[in-house]
Symmetry: C2
Subunit: 317 residues, 2 copies
């Protein structure tokens, strides 16, 4: 049965209807497979982003490792805030500032070394409150949706504010999405040949912070085609949802609402890093389909996760 | 019969051997499909780039159209040189400068409008000496190779100095390569919503000039995985060929030599815009497989092209 982790209701019906319509050969809304592009935000859309996005745990662990060699980091901002989990300072840095701090920690590292490090970390590090590896934090209904779209000739891309290389370290195993279909925030790199061996080396400088309008800019650069389906969960996704909805043909833009205190977390307007506010106010005007985690999802996580400390995410201190 | 437009010889054997080796399940050199990434330069590798790369004809026609509305362009450099086909000044601008002039001509245009314009131009404009539409200028042996790789589970990408959106306007029909697998030179864009309709708008500023080391940087950004096969035809491709050749497992890097005065053009070191010089000198050291158009290709073009004015490309004036 398709989408068995989805409850029957408005959202599931909208998905089934849309896919049926665009894949019906000879139908008025038929879309050829090459144009069946779907884009998904990652944090909070495909996997859990509470109490912090996974990349910030990763950045903190990396900074802690670096601080072993250079203890002065523990006394210097913004590293100090990261290492001490100083929420007020971290909120002030914002999502982009936090990404830049984590990115700085990897300057000079080759892409291959980074991938090994990231895979090792993802395998061996556990979510602080859920007690499972981070890669178990995917939402089961979304894995089903990705598979359902794949079976119907769609190509799904991740378009996330998260670091592109960290996502590429697990996207194939967890989501079935190949590395080349991952778009994210990135640093500049340089190609070096040393002793006859060529490597890409990460630099400290930001290349792209993939949020808001920049998500659409990067869709243009990486995909070169307007998506017909988009799925997000915060105001940072609205630009790509609206880009998707204002194409010529049929389109579907979905917005996940975290309203399930029993099985995950409840947050929207008050989540400082990635609020969902305009999206709630303008959902009808923008033609967005709201997905309620509480009502629309029969299950939330895969089998390994049993959430014991769910709750409401506190507003900014 | 596989690769029937290729003559039996060193190059064809290298391709057949390589593909057999990496697709042999249980073999020592087996590469899983997800890692079978192939990258191809476009101009001079997949299609003809003489007497000028197609994008320069496109740029000139666009500037000529703009000059109808703004005749002052015909008196201002660098537009004047472009419009008058002033070879000396154009050579001085270089490949990057020429791309920037053409890019400036499209500033303010939406991506959708550009695609319509490019498709229209490609359909209705003929190569000045060959007398066929530009999209007939593909090399038949390469179309066969792309198909052969596809049949063997490879994903092929274009990685070219050419404008990314111009290539995307014909890559699917001509090469069977989807738009999202095209990497090229690009301008920055901005996402605009006007009267409720969202569009990407081209800006005058260069985003990436996809040549030499930048090709590898963009492979990292767009693909996120080291290719195992690369095909180029100039020194501008050497960085990506060497990146490919210096990976851990099996790899194949091919370099097309334009040495066929009877069926195409003869050029290498003296071609000012995209010389092939270091590649010839260092082919053995870099582990490159040279492909001779004259000896290795049974046919060069598809049926529609009969080259009547072939020759040697003159050195810089």
């Amino acid at each position: 049965m398709a989408l068995s982790s989805w409850n029957d209701g408005h959202a599931k019906l909208a998905i089934l209807d849309f896919v049926a319509k665009v894949t019906l050969k000879g139908g008025a809304y038929f879309v050829p497979p090459a144009e069946r592009i779907a884009v998904f935000d990652n944090d909070g859309t495909l996997w859990c982003e509470q109490p912090w996005q996974v990349q910030f745990f990763f950045g903190r662990d990396r900074l802690a490792a670096l601080a072993q060699h250079d203890p002065s980091l523990t006394q210097r901002q913004p590293f100090k805030a990261y290492l001490e989990n100083d929420q007020r300072t971290m909120h002030a840095l914002g999502k982009k500032g936090l990404f830049e701090v984590a990115a700085a920690a990897h300057a000079g590292m080759t892409e291959s070394a980074f991938t090994r490090l990231a895979r090792d970390w993802l395998t061996n590090t556990y979510h602080p409150s859920l007690g499972v590896p981070f890669t178990d934090l995917y939402y089961r209904p979304q894995i089903e949706l990705l598979g359902y779209l794949r079976e119907h000739g769609f190509k799904s891309f991740i378009v996330s504010g998260g670091g592109i290389d960290l996502m590429r370290a697990f996207c194939e195993e967890v989501y079935g999405i190949p590395r080349e279909r991952v778009i994210g925030s990135s640093v500049k790199t340089r190609f070096d040949i040393q002793s006859g061996h060529g490597e890409l080396v990460k630099l400290a400088e930001l290349n792209s912070f993939d949020d808001r309008e920049e998500k659409v800019v990067n869709i243009g650069l990486h995909i070169g085609r307007r998506p017909i389906l988009a799925f997000g969960n915060s105001d940072g996704d609205l630009a790509m949802l609206r880009y998707t909805k204002t194409g010529r043909g049929p389109s579907l833009a979905l917005l996940l609402h975290h309203d399930d205190a029993a099985r995950e977390y409840v947050y929207d307007r008050q989540f400082h890093l990635c609020p969902l506010s305009e999206g709630l106010d303008k959902a009808i005007e923008y033609g967005l389909t709201l997905v309620s985690m509480k009502r629309d999802w029969r299950t939330v996580f895969g089998a390994s996760v049993s959430l014991t400390i769910p709750g409401t995410v506190p507003a900014r201190a």
